[in-house]
Symmetry: C2
Subunit: 467 residues, 2 copies
Amino acid sequence: MQADEFRAHGHRLIEWIIDYHSRVESLPVESTVAPGEIAALLPEHPGEPDGFEALFADLDRVVVPGLTNWQHPGFFAWFPANTTYPAILAELVSAGLGVQGMSWATSPAVTEVETRMMDWMIDLLGLPDAFRSTSEAGGGVIQGSASEATLTSILAARWRATEGAVNIDSDTTRLVAYATSQAHSSVEKGLRIAGIGTDHLRVVPHDENFAMRPDALADLIAADRAAGLVPFWVCATVGTTNSLAIDPVRAVAEVARAEGVWLHVDAAMAGIATLCPELRWLNEGVELADSYGTNPHKWMGITFDCNLFYTADRISLLGALSILPEYLRTAAAEAGAVIDYRDWQVPLGRRFRALKLWFTLRTDGVAPAQAMIRDHVAWTQQLAEWVADDDRFEVLAPHPLNLLCLALRDGDEATAALISAANATGQVLFTRTVLDGRVVLRFSIGARTTRMADVRDGWALLQRLAS
Amino acid sequence: MQADEFRAHGHRLIEWIIDYHSRVESLPVESTVAPGEIAALLPEHPGEPDGFEALFADLDRVVVPGLTNWQHPGFFAWFPANTTYPAILAELVSAGLGVQGMSWATSPAVTEVETRMMDWMIDLLGLPDAFRSTSEAGGGVIQGSASEATLTSILAARWRATEGAVNIDSDTTRLVAYATSQAHSSVEKGLRIAGIGTDHLRVVPHDENFAMRPDALADLIAADRAAGLVPFWVCATVGTTNSLAIDPVRAVAEVARAEGVWLHVDAAMAGIATLCPELRWLNEGVELADSYGTNPHKWMGITFDCNLFYTADRISLLGALSILPEYLRTAAAEAGAVIDYRDWQVPLGRRFRALKLWFTLRTDGVAPAQAMIRDHVAWTQQLAEWVADDDRFEVLAPHPLNLLCLALRDGDEATAALISAANATGQVLFTRTVLDGRVVLRFSIGARTTRMADVRDGWALLQRLAS
């Protein structure tokens, strides 16, 4: 493809993206295709290239019918993954430059813009200074996902608990980790990847609000110590996937500190809410954490993938993940004057993801995200009032933020049927979960395009279908 | 940012990207900035947004001086990371849609286009049918990097070797892995992540061509078995980073099969050369591998990130990585009719990366990549002849593909000084490595923009500076 074709096609695709966003509301939220239906529209084997016009037509013929539309105003499913124009432009530039950020030397701007953005976000989220790049022992890095951040935290904690021996000695059979049943699946997955089976993951009991009980954590740790085991990592969640439950980070941190256990705070969904100063109570106790992660790619509009991962103990992180083969040695790194972010993550290669934050903060700034977050929280409270007024429904968990967990009093089958019926309209998409044995409809208000009217319509639809 | 602004800015950025590519040759290959110089151009704290014009100006003021230009025709460093117009457009569309591919249900098109592309690439690379999505036990997935592919392979192998016990039982202290000293650093890193220290990574001796000695592998495995250990994973490399050495996959596979050890083939760099049928000898024995990875984001022009990871044993892969919390259950997955790619990788979230392959194969097709690969291989042979004619230099490794490992006979200091002097011109970028104790200048001919004249000029520069 030559430059003039790239220009022409690029302009058409920009128009196509604008058009997609303008009509996304008219599409069903959830794709209605059956398994295999999209694949059947593509040849089984690659043929000769058939050109941009055919490809362009296939965006509407093949791709769009196969999309579950995360940018739809009726998207109340899972968690949001908002994309916004400044971040899309940044992804275009990142792809256009085609540079690597694995080491400082492979493109200094990738590293240094990222370090600045990580520090800027500390200001914008009110996070502790111990996470700054300029702090004695801390720092931050963009990871692709909260799953990777959680795994990275486990690896740093394991290195610290074994005083580095883990890199050489394969015996880590005494290590034990802690989280509630409400923690994200990436906690079990990350531990499993690290070679720590479920026999060494303690499920810490939660209270009636689905939040961790610090006393129970202390008891479990004491029992493990008595058994000769080594408690090494605890995950506190700020905004669980099930119900946005918030573990008491300060109380958990006090237990963890007293026991020398690494505390990771998984604030993947809710942490970004602290863009609003009045929601900074969510950061309570975070200054005692060893590591912390939140996802601008969820609620903030920084197109996936963009997780902010901070640690107050970069020595352990680097101890766990740095490897320096001859072919990656550089003079700048040898001098210790630079950051090589490859040593802060699992993969070697790195995209120029900091551009997404930089483009957004310099064009839109944080005001649109703040306004959206405030709206979503307020609408959730309004929705909760409506639900409370309808005897057929009940609310099953606290809802200080933007997720309401509902169920029909008629029981699990009725709730599950309601979710299916609502989603089948194509106007909304809700996902289910289970809270203490009850099937729950998660009403997650997080899409950037959602208006108050969409929340009202969604609720009206549920009421109608429940009849 | 509103749609009309997105349109206007998007058009300017497309022009800017075209302009960057047209002038990249006039820039120094390696950024000349000192550590901290780019960061100093940005405020320490975020201010109010200053708008697109200021940001746009900063692309040239802040970003470009801080780039090491991987698309420069004089880029002979590390391995290539070619970006091309069709793939850039695909990244634009992927960001524009903002959909998730973690599960089939979260956007069926993301999964089904990816599955088709993985199967198409089997045709195009001449890979075994055991890797096809339609095979009894195999399949493929796009990973972000070869590091992740290697880690994924280790995890699947560990699951199989422990008959799944690893997910529950934290004792994996008997497992042993095998690779040569020439294997990529991600092998040691991946094992370390999986909790397998260097005490259980056996360095298999290599021959004079830096290729694994299968007899030595067999001896090591036998010794470990005799010691009551469990050999579980061997990595054969097709194109090492140091010298593009090629392990004898068939002979290694025969040892591995006889011993029930998982064989991973890391063909990150060289595998993609099999787009050219005359280079399919690189696939010799791959049909005996349990997993295989290659990177279209290196030599093919599929903008980073795009690793093709195939396995012939998806049961073990899914056993190792699948976790199904209530909030991720979907009807389609329960019915077993679909692929949920989140269970094929470490992260949960997934970008729509298959678009990069689809856009490229339908517009440019593979002919440009084939022609480029053939040129690069031919030019490397020509370069080797020139080097052979200059008594001051010697070639230190076989060079059947596109990497020539040179050194000055004067010794390591002279070679290191030559690399520094050449790079300081800004016209070229070479990286160093060490082969059996000798410092080496790696002359890697892989950038899409490189012409024969650039290779000739690069060699002339080395000859001049060596005087």
